[in-house]
């Protein structure tokens, strides 16, 4: 019974995550981006504590010439897509252990979807 409940929970969570993903709201995501803006700019070539996120969707991780990335991210071979960003933002240290981003992760799936919708909009 226990296991069944857990399984159902997992399925529901997975579904709601992808559902939320489909419904990500770029306007809400723009507000949520405040959490990121102390380190990340959306202007090309403007690196802060973190690299510029201009055009991040479709970019291979750790490939801006003028930013000093962690070895972990350089080795990751990630290409940033809504799916890979979703995994990374949820728990950056779990997704890419030893990366240098000082951020514990965004636990709320709806907020992640909003944020990714905003990054998608800004990458166009």
């Amino acid at each position: 019974m226990m296991n069944t409940t857990k399984l159902i929970c997992t399925i529901v969570l997975t579904c709601s995550a992808s559902l939320a993903h489909a419904q990500g709201d770029a306007a809400r995501g723009e507000k949520k981006f405040e959490d990121c803006a102390a380190c990340h700019s959306l202007t090309t070539g403007e690196n802060g504590v973190g690299p510029s996120l201009a055009g991040v969707i479709g970019r291979k991780a750790a490939t801006l010439d003028d930013y000093r990335y962690s070895p972990a991210l350089k080795r990751s071979n990630i290409v940033w897509s809504p799916q890979t960003l979703e995994t990374f933002i949820a728990d950056p240290q779990k997704a890419v252990p030893a990366n240098r981003m000082p951020y514990a992760g965004l636990t709320n799936a709806g907020e992640r979807a909003d944020l990714i919708a905003y990054l998608q909009k800004m990458s166009k």
């Binding site: 990121c36 102390a38 240098r100 951020y103």
Partner: protein
């Protein structure tokens, strides 16, 4: 021979919180401003990023962000009859020496000092009579009021991203805040930090005993924040490395991520790093200052920077040192009590109890600089009657973790061997299971606690070192005993497996272990030139185009961390200088 540079409107000595605030404000007001900073340029992305910032050896043991004692230090003694000796390694306090100053490596605790400090002598005399204040206790009113400073506290709190809960909004006491605080016009810009276990336990214990705990206000952003100037803060990640480290998440309020970058984008502002100011220059009749001389410490070149105005914004000790080296104002003499420069040096005191629990896991590695719950029942609570206890001043009591260092933090119960197998077993067992209750106490001014120039020892520039003469007096011993009793009563109520109790410090002060970087006084503000170096606008009584900013202007020290009034007074002085430039001259008639 010093190279004489082109004249500017303002030269600022030291670029931390106060220098940064004044640089931004005055450059925006249209003045040509040059800042001279001893240290290097450091930035979050290049210098404070993980993993290199997690370096206990570099930042804690080798003091990477602090003053280099091989170049300049102080000599120290307890009383005027002793010979002072140089502090060859930083100990009791840690002045910062980078762009951003000590504001880079502070913990963020930000308090509003009240009229209980600003009117200290008049309030105690009125309530307890003149004889309550000992003859050698040279406390005096500051010449400023809380109401005057309130808007400037507010401005600093919103600039520096303070997380906290108001306890008194326009006279209305607020649940969850500090009921003893003075009225504030509005809430803190950010809600309190997420509480940690030990502070929750302390909260309950203090509440059960009838006290009034509240989350400590602190410049660690509890969530992402954009301040009124547009400076962006990330949310605090509770990384456990706050005090003595730069913040990798831009979550700690620091001038290097707020006012300084804004000043640097302004064409009116120029920063010169590695620039060591050796003297403030005066004109022939000594009524005005004309600029400063400084040495580029990388090349050894000497420069003279002429300026219409000089602002001393270095670390509190170094501001006083420059005043003494430059002969601005009369040096204080404890025998005759004549002169004011060097007068009323104050420090802080405190006690600590450590509690050990078999069944708790405190996770000391997770916490912000200001993860702490505090009570002010024996602090800014004027309802607490000092009469029966016979001391002037106050203390706050709190519990939290601030930078429990991976190597340095080794709590073990009393009686544990100091090395070997038993010590190793104990440190492994108790690391997770110990918490502290701390009291931080005020230190009142005393005629024999002061600064002057050392007659023997010199710095790398051939100038006399600053000499610090300081010890705790009977007043502080009484306060310490009262605070130890209170801390122990709270600790006893918490049913720990064992407790290392708090005990009042009565032994002479020593410069060796780290205690607190809260050094105050030396160029104090006041109501007239006979009792103070500066007027209420922090303007020199002797030279009206010289302003001296920092904790060195405090006539005594409270139990609170100093940065709240330091930041507020910097904004207050910036406004005063904007008026001054339209009508130069003394802003208060002597």
């Amino acid at each position: 021979m010093a190279t004489k540079l082109n004249d500017v409107d303002v030269v600022i000595v030291g670029l931390g919180w106060t220098g940064g605030i004044l640089a931004k404000e005055l450059a925006e007001a249209g003045l040509k401003v040059v800042a001279l900073e001893r240290g290097d340029m450091r930035t979050t992305d290049k210098d404070y990023a993980v993993p290199s910032i997690r370096d206990e050896l570099r930042y804690v043991i080798r003091h990477d962000l602090m003053q280099n004692t091989a170049r300049d230090t102080l000599t120290v003694r307890n009383n005027p009859s002793q010979e002072a000796l140089p502090m060859r390694r930083l100990g009791s306090f840690l002045p910062g020496e980078v762009v951003g100053g000590s504001g880079v490596h502070w913990s963020g605790h930000t308090w509003r000092w009240t009229d209980m400090e600003f009117k200290v002598r008049s309030m105690y005399e009125e309530r307890y009579g003149k004889s309550f204040i000992p003859a050698d206790m040279t406390i005096q009113d500051w010449g400023i009021t809380y109401d005057e400073l309130e808007p400037y506290y507010d401005k600093f709190e919103h600039t520096a991203a303070i997380s906290g809960k108001a306890g008194n909004l326009k006279g209305q006491i607020q649940a969850g805040g500090n009921p003893f605080e003075a009225p504030r016009a509005r809430e803190y810009p950010l809600p309190p930090l997420t509480p940690i276990l030990c502070s929750e336990m302390f909260d309950k214990a203090a509440r059960d005993l009838g006290y009034h705990p509240f989350p400590r206000p602190t410049s660690n952003a509890s969530r992402a924040y954009t301040n009124p100037d547009g400076s962006k803060f990330g949310a605090c990640q509770y990384c456990g490395h706050c005090q003595r480290f730069g913040c990798e998440a831009n979550a700690k309020g620091s001038a290097h991520i707020t006012v300084i970058p804004i000043a640097m984008r302004n064409p009116n502002f120029t920063l010169r790093t590695n620039s060591w100011v050796t003297k403030v220059l005066k004109d022939s009749d000594g009524k005005k200052v004309t600029g400063v001389t400084y040495t580029n410490i990388l090349t050894g070149e000497e420069f003279e920077q002429p300026a219409g105005m000089v602002l001393l914004c270095a670390y509190a000790i170094n501001n006083v040192h420059l005043m003494l080296l430059s002969g601005v104002g009369e040096a204080y003499d404890p025998a005759t009590q004549k002169g004011v420069i060097g007068k009323n040096y104050c420090y802080q005191t405190g006690v600590n109890a450590r509690l050990f629990f078999e069944d708790k896991y405190f996770h000391p590695f997770m916490g912000a600089g200001g993860s702490n719950v505090t009570i002010d029942d024996f602090n800014i609570n004027w309802g607490f009657d000092r009469g029966p206890h016979g001391f002037v001043g106050a203390y706050n009591v709190g519990s939290g973790f601030n930078t429990a260092l991976p190597i340095g933090y080794r709590p073990v119960p009393a009686g544990t061997p100091q090395w070997g197998k038993a010590w190793k077993a104990a440190t492994a067992k108790w690391y997770q299971k110990a918490m502290n209750i701390n009291a931080s106490g005020s230190v009142m001014a005393n005629r024999n606690n002061y600064y002057d120039l050392d007659p023997t020892y010199r710095n790398a520039f051939g100038q006399p070192l600053m000499r610090m003469t300081f010890d705790y007096k009977e007043n502080e011993h009484k306060l310490g005993r009262h605070s130890a009793d209170l801390v122990n009563a709270i600790a006893r109520s918490m049913n720990a497996a064992s407790v290392i109790p708090a005990s009042a410090r009565v032994e002479p002060w020593t410069v060796v272990p780290y205690q607190s970087t809260h050094n105050t006084g030396g160029t104090i503000m006041g109501t007239n030139p006979r009792n103070s170096a500066l007027n209420k606008y922090l303007q020199s009584w002797d030279c009206h185009n010289l302003f001296v900013v920092g904790a060195n202007v405090f006539p005594h020290n409270s139990s609170y961390n100093p940065t709240g009034p330091v930041g507020a007074l910097a904004y207050w002085t910036a406004d005063a200088i904007k008026r001054y430039v339209k009508n130069p001259g003394p802003m208060v008639q002597a």
